[in-house]
Each structure stands twice: as structure tokens, then as C-alpha cells.
């Protein structure tokens, strides 16, 4: 089961992203649309289409659990889901005053959880299973790391976070909680 983290600046440009595959078992969510779908294999957009319909998770798992081509694990599809969830996030963040917004959006097998810092930077996490406490702890860790990044006078709200130390720390935290 994999997780995708995006950090978005206040103007919604991505400044950091991370893909994390965890070894913990998935509590899989079945998608009803998937089974009713025709095969799209001839289409040039096969990957995207099957992914958006949710078919991938049903058909594309290889026996070895290795590479999953196409399907819901495609990079551009993930980005699209993350971007699409921003609408939901913005709706919720106007009404809720907590920073951690759990499961704000759902798309096929993906659930999107978000964390809004006081300075309006958004952390988005795409995940498959349900793991509220773990995700909250993970976001709290990322928040501390982000505040430390912010304190650097050379960092503005819109600069990409390229620090290898930041990356390592986020990965460590992901390994621990996700």
C-alpha cells in the first residue's frame, strides 16, 4: 500500500512531494465501478481511463506484488486526484478550525487527508487504508519540519523544499507512522 504526500504553497504550487510504500497490510476498498468496465487496452489513454474509473486496483495487481503499471498508481493520475481534492479541502477549511482534516475527499481507492498550517500551506496525503492516528502523527512531524524550513531566511513560501535532510526526516516519519 502506498502513500503520496504533497506539500502545497499558499498559492497551491507544489513545493514538495513524496511517495512512500509501506509494508503494512491494506484494508482494501472495493470499487463497484471497476467490475462493470469494458477493457480499454487499445486506447492511448488506457492507463488514465482505467485509473479514473477505479478498475486498476481490481485487475492490475501482479502476483509478485511488484510493479503495478498503469492504473491508479500512475504519477499523473495521483497528481490529478490530489489537485482535484483541493476544492474539497478549501470548502472544509473555511468551516473547520482544526489543522488536521481527515478524509476530506475520496476517489476510488484513494482517500485524501489534509493538514493546513496557520500560514495556509497545505499538506495532502493520498492513502488507501484507514489510519487516522498514524496520519495525524505523521502530519505533526511534517509540520515541525516544515516550520523549521520556514525559519530559514532563504526560504520563501514558494521555494521548493530540496533539503536532503528534510526528505530523510519525512521518510523516517512515514516509515514510523504509515
Amino acid at each position: 500500500m502506498s502513500h503520496h504526500l504533497f506539500i502545497l504553497s499558499p498559492s497551491d504550487t507544489p513545493i514538495y512531494s513524496l511517495t512512500h510504500s509501506s509494508s503494512k497490510p491494506v484494508t482494501s476498498v472495493s470499487s463497484p465501478l471497476a467490475s462493470n468496465l469494458p477493457t480499454w487496452s487499445t486506447s492511448a489513454f488506457a492507463g488514465t481511463l482505467t485509473a479514473l474509473s477505479g478498475a486498476s486496483s481490481a485487475s492490475n495487481h501482479t502476483a509478485s506484488g511488484g510493479v503495478r503499471m498503469g492504473g491508479g498508481q500512475d504519477r499523473h493520475v495521483i497528481q490529478m486526484i490530489a489537485n482535484a481534492s483541493l476544492d474539497a479541502v478549501e470548502d472544509v477549511m473555511r468551516k473547520e478550525n482544526t489543522m488536521y482534516l481527515k478524509s476530506v475527499d475520496k476517489f476510488n481507492e484513494w482517500t485524501v487527508s489534509a493538514f493546513i498550517t496557520p500560514g495556509n500551506t497545505k499538506f495532502l496525503l493520498l492513502h488507501e487504508g484507514k489510519n487516522d492516528d498514524g496520519i495525524k502523527s505523521f502530519f505533526t512531524d511534517v509540520w515541525e519540519l516544515y516550520v523549521k524550513t520556514m525559519l530559514n531566511p532563504f526560504h520563501t513560501a514558494h521555494t521548493l523544499i530540496k533539503s536532503p535532510v528534510f526528505d530523510t526526516r519525512v521518510r523516517q516519519s512515514a516509515k514510523k507512522y504509515l
Binding site: 477549511m93 473555511r94 478550525n97 489543522m99 488536521y100 500560514g119 495556509n120 509540520w143 520563501t156
Partner: protein, 239 residues
């Protein structure tokens, strides 16, 4: 390492032997005359390795005070540096505002983190009035060590709020020349306020104005002019 360095390059200048000879030469012979602490690091780092921000502790330190003299000096330099590069007073105020904005962004994040990181469900401020109150108390306390002296709503315009500081500490050692009377160096503070409001989702234009009174000759008003969208939203939430 491509080249070898002496063990402690920094210390070579102030090695123990030379420090003691300074002591010897000084008329009183007491080390306390020198404000520099004895430079003997407890855990020497290997040369070339710098401390990393991610290893540092950012929780609230026990001693919060920054030297007022040092800050006044730095702020004076900031103002005079900026003044050499601008066309007029408006431009100068705008630039001070921009500098303050950069500070405000960080103040907001750090202040909230310190207040909320232990909490089970960290909160953001989403209502306007509590946000303004927290600027008057918490932001001021974090930046200047004391709450602001007042906050008022404008009578004429519904979208204007004013934060009042009777004696802004950043202006304490600045006297503005007569021909630049409208200049308020608190534009820097206005920038901080603007960044905090922006971050919390209340975009506004914030400016600083001198409003001297008999008992407070340096009294300054920070004027907040909110964007229309903010007021519209407040109306919707109220219903």
C-alpha cells in the same frame, strides 16, 4: 576532505595563550571586562560540518529577550539601507512593509506551532475577530514582549480596524526628520500584521500612521483595511 585544516581553525585566533596574554595586559586584569565568553566549545564539531536547522529545538526558550540595543541598531541600519534605495516616503514604507511581511510569515508559523504542537487537535483561527484579538495579544507578545495597547473598529468604515501602540519599541530610538513627517517606521510592524492576516486567510492592506497624543508622543496606529471578500465571508458564517 580535499585539503587538511588545523583542528580548530576558529580557535587559532583566540587560543588560550593569547587570551590569557590579553588578560595580562588589561589594566584591571579581570576577564569580566570582556563581554565575550571564554571560547571553549564543549563538543567540537569536525571542521566543515555546520549545525542543521532540522536538528535544532524550536520550542519556546526560557529566556526570550533579544538585546534591545542590538535590535535598535539593526533596525536603524535597515531603515537607512532602505532609504538609500527608494524614491520617496511611500516607497520606503512599502519596502519596510515587505520586510515586515517576511518576518510575519515566520512569526505566525512559529508562534502557532509553539502554542499548538502538544495539542491533540491543533487549531487555526478562522473567525475574524478572534484573529484580530490574537494579533493584538499573542503576536505582539511574541514580537515585542507586551500586548498592544488597544484595538478599535473604525466608526466610518466597516472594513477598517486599528491596532494602537502607545510606544512602539522599534521606533524608540528613531526620530524622523521634519520634512519626512508622514513616515512611520512602524510600516515594518504593519508588514508583520499583514502577513499574519494573509496567512490566516484574511487578506488586507495594512499601513502604519503616526497619531501622536499629548501623553504619548510616539503613539502609532496600525490601520487594517480588509478586502471585501473577508467581510462577505464573515456575513455568511454569521448566518
Amino acid at each position: 576532505m580535499a585539503y587538511s585544516q588545523p583542528q580548530h581553525p576558529r580557535l587559532s585566533v583566540l587560543s588560550n595563550s593569547s587570551a590569557s596574554s590579553v588578560d595580562h595586559l588589561s589594566p584591571t586584569g579581570s576577564a569580566t571586562r570582556f563581554s565575550l565568553p571564554p571560547t571553549v566549545p564543549t563538543s567540537p564539531r569536525p571542521a566543515g560540518v555546520r549545525p542543521n536547522i532540522y536538528d535544532r529545538n524550536i520550542t519556546k526558550p526560557r529566556v526570550l529577550d533579544v538585546s534591545g540595543a542590538a535590535f535598535s541598531f539593526m533596525f536603524a541600519e535597515i531603515v537607512s539601507y532602505t532609504q538609500k534605495r527608494v524614491a520617496g516616503i511611500n516607497d520606503l514604507e512599502r519596502r519596510l512593509n515587505t520586510l515586515g511581511y517576511r518576518v510575519g510569515m515566520r512569526v505566525l508559523e512559529l508562534m502557532t506551532w509553539r502554542a499548538e504542537y502538544t495539542s491533540k487537535a491543533p487549531k487555526r483561527e478562522i473567525r475574524l475577530l478572534p484573529a484580530l484579538m490574537s494579533i493584538q495579544t499573542q503576536v505582539w507578545r511574541a514580537v515585542f514582549g507586551k500586548p498592544a495597547d488597544g484595538i478599535q473598529k473604525s466608526v466610518e468604515n466597516a472594513d477598517e480596524y486599528m491596532i494602537i501602540d502607545n510606544d512602539p519599541s522599534i521606533e524608540r530610538h528613531i526620530s524622523v526628520p521634519k520634512d519626512m513627517k508622514q513616515l512611520s517606521c512602524s510600516s515594518f510592524t504593519a508588514g508583520i500584521v499583514e502577513a499574519v492576516l494573509d496567512g490566516l486567510g484574511f487578506p488586507a492592506r495594512v499601513t502604519a500612521h503616526n497619531t501622536p497624543s499629548a501623553e504619548h508622543p510616539t503613539k502609532t496606529t496600525i490601520l487594517i483595511k480588509l478586502e471585501k471578500s473577508v467581510l462577505d465571508r464573515e456575513e455568511i458564517i454569521k448566518q
